[in-house]
Amino acid sequence: MTKSLKINKSTEQGVLELLKYLLENKKVKAVFTLKKIEKKGAVAYSLIADVKDLQDAVPFYPLMPVNAGNLLSRFTLKGSPDELVAAVVKPCELRGFVELIKREQGSLENLLIISSTCGGVYPTKFGVDGTVEKNLSKYWDAVKKGEIPDGSRPTCRSCEEFAPYVADITVDMLGKNDLDKQCMMFLNTKKAEEIAKGFKGDFSDKQMDSKKLDKAREKRGIEKKKLFDEIDKKMNGIDGLIEIFGKCISCHGCSKVCPICYCVLCEFESSDSEYGPSNFETELRKRPGLRVPPGTLYFHLGRLTHISISCVACGACDDVCPSDIPVAMVFKKVSESVQKMFDYIPGKNVDEKIPLITFKKDEFKEFEG
């Protein structure tokens, strides 16, 4: 039975109180969360060891400067912490991290994962020009009502996986109309129950209201259909893809920020993707001209093949693209159909293997000769 913990403070304040309690009582060694850094107030993930520095923490700031799945992988890749560290992350960041764990790029060991039902985030660039700061109250109004905040990332607007799967603690946010007065957390694991013992709050056995989540899911579903229809019209075969990706400058920022793309050296940056002069000469005998450097679309198709089974549709790729290519929506659309084929939800369960490394004899009869 899930335990619930109610605190009579705003949701963000309540979570901060708990984090403060955990740090002060040495129940965790540090807290990993979003924090305002520097004078101008850039928001970045930070590792906080001193309770004083918690005052600048903004755990639920509607921004994802970097997908925290990437960061938790970096944090644990070369060895997990010796003692517990609390990490506040968004559901898709957690799913990205779980997919990385399945690829042996990190571990949940000694992490206390706190996540929430998520209202989505704004495009990263709006964190630079002050737009996010200006829109904060509008954002929280929309979240309260379970609605889609105006101007949030397209992948967030159409996200139906806004409830975390493997979090130790789930914070109730989406559709919670009194989130500025009351904080409600659900302690999903023994680890969470153990650690919250002694904290001053209202413990009970309440469950998350699933009806309000269904309603929010419905709204997102409608938005998703609209966005998918739009991108579908554009994709439309190889010519459509050439149109979409024609302005790609091959910076590969999308792969660099992707929580699933974990290769230290991408295939498309390796010597395998380099061609000698004779290759070009051969190619020029076949066609009148070719784009150089070559392989612009090939890179995206390759990346799609590599990651679509695990894409968590966080939208980090969209945000980093200097050419404003709707790369995330293309990837989300294709990935959903790939994942459906294997009946797989990335990041749902740490113990469930990635379909591409599991062999099932009776699978895909439809492709047999």
């Binding site: 060694k29 540090a30 924090k35 850094i37 520097e38 101008k40 970045a44 930070s46 590792l47 906080i48 060891a49 001193d50 520095d53 970097v66 960061l71 970096r74 944090f75 890749l77 070369k78 997990s80 912490p81 010796d82 560290v85 000694n110 990263t124 660039k125 964190g127 630079v128 020009d129 050439i242 149109e243 979409i244 024609g246 302005k247 400058i249 091959s250 910076c251 590969h252 920022g253 660099k256 230290v264 940056e269 000698g276 002069p277 004779s278 000469e281 020029l284 005998r285 009148p288 001209g289 784009r291 150089v292 450097p293 070559p294 945000d319 980093v320 693209c321 200097p322 050419s323 404003d324």
Partner: protein, 373 residues
């Protein structure tokens, strides 16, 4: 290095059309077998370098596109990095792209033996994010601005570029100081002389009016540059300001990936060297109260700066690619000026001049030696 020689060429109906005509003619005569030149993408919203073998494609080429989506040096390097080919290629680029190509050749990342590089007086380029908002309208605006040498819409680095007519390739199209409906074809090498010769162009005209205009123009830009650097230094100078400036950086390393002279296949800052255990990170967090995670954002920028500022050509590709609008190109370019001045080096100016960091001179930099004795 040969002294610049030039010819006055009739430019009808336009400079661009004449350049294309010359390229077609040189392909027909076998001067070149192929041409690397920017072309508008099928979707119309971007320009890309295309290696053209069939000269009928050239009619759609845009020798001077309004933006720089991919730095031309990357195009040349992708074709010749593994060695020279059998075919003779002409590459048409902007001066900063030529300079980056020259740096890449010095770094063993491009082979220019069978390559003839053609540059032209450059009015700058639009930031690609501006261009993408209204491609059609911006092409018109760019062409008008280019004619008037109005740089207000261009990349911030183009606005203070004092090397926009630098000739470091083989041939150069000079439009500054040219009479109406003409341009100067300027040769900088025997390869350039040879190509002009085969096209029946006699490089014996006086190019003084181009050189005078270039000098005036460049001097004006130098003044503007000095002023801009002073302002920028006040804003980003010192470690606190620098950390603040880069606080929005999300470590995507786009700047490094699009930089024409950042040549490492695997950047040090993406390598295993910068990956540590959770306990190492915690130790740092404990000693400072808290740390940004990932840490060392500014260190990456400074590391990259140390690695490439001697070769930086101030093209601004990094700034265009920055998704967080950090003035990274302006900062790098300012520092690069100082680094290069220290070694009396101008990146990409002369293929035969070795990069200072690989050339040892015994009497060099006495001023930084230990002066205790």
């Amino acid at each position: 290095m040969s002294k610049l020689k030039g010819a006055i060429v009739a430019a009808k109906p336009s400079v661009e059309k004449t350049i294309i005509g010359m390229l077609e003619k040189s392909m027909k005569k076998g001067v070149f077998d192929a041409v690397i030149i920017p072309m508008r993408a099928p979707s119309g919203d971007s320009f890309a370098y295309v290696l053209v073998k069939d000269k009928s494609l050239l009619k759609d080429a845009t020798p001077l596109p309004p933006t720089m989506f991919v730095q031309g040096a990357k195009a040349v390097s992708s074709v010749t990095r593994l060695g020279k080919g059998k075919i003779k290629i002409a590459a048409v680029m902007r001066p900063c792209e030529v300079r980056a190509t020259v740096e890449l050749a010095k770094l063993g990342q491009a082979n220019l033996e069978n390559m003839t590089i053609i540059s032209m007086d450059c009015p700058g380029v639009l930031p690609s994010s501006d261009f993408l908002k209204y491609p059609e309208k911006n092409i018109k605006l760019f062409n008008e601005a280019a004619k008037k040498l109005d740089d207000k819409m261009m990349r911030p680095l183009c606005q203070i570029c004092d090397k926009s007519s630098m000739v470091s390739g083989d041939l150069h199209i000079g439009t500054l100081g040219a009479k109406k409906d003409t341009f100067f074809l300027i040769s900088n090498s025997t390869k350039g002389d040879d190509a002009a010769n085969k096209l029946g162009i006699n490089l014996k005209d006086n190019i003084d009016s181009w050189q005078t205009k270039v000098k005036t123009f460049s001097d004006e830009k130098k003044k503007k540059r000095k002023k801009a650097h002073k302002e920028l230094k006040a804003k980003v100078g010192g470690i606190d300001n620098l950390v603040e400036t880069f606080s929005h950086c999300i470590n995507c390393h786009n700047c490094m990936r699009v930089c024409p002279v950042c040549i490492c296949r695997l950047c040090y800052f993406d390598s295993d060297k910068v990956k540590h255990s959770a306990e190492d990170y915690l130790e740092r967090a404990e000693s400072k109260g808290s740390i940004r995670f990932l840490p060392d954002t500014t260190l990456f920028q400074m590391g990259r700066m140390m690695h490439m500022s001697i070769s930086c050509v101030s093209c601004g590709a990094c700034e265009d690619a920055c998704s967080m609008s950090i003035p990274v190109g302006q900062i790098f370019s300012m520092i690069a000026d100082e680094t290069q001045a220290l070694f009396d080096y101008v990146s990409g100016k002369n293929l035969d001049e070795p990069i200072p960091l690989v050339a040892y001179k015994e009497e060099e930099l006495l001023e930084v030696e230990d002066s205790d004795d």
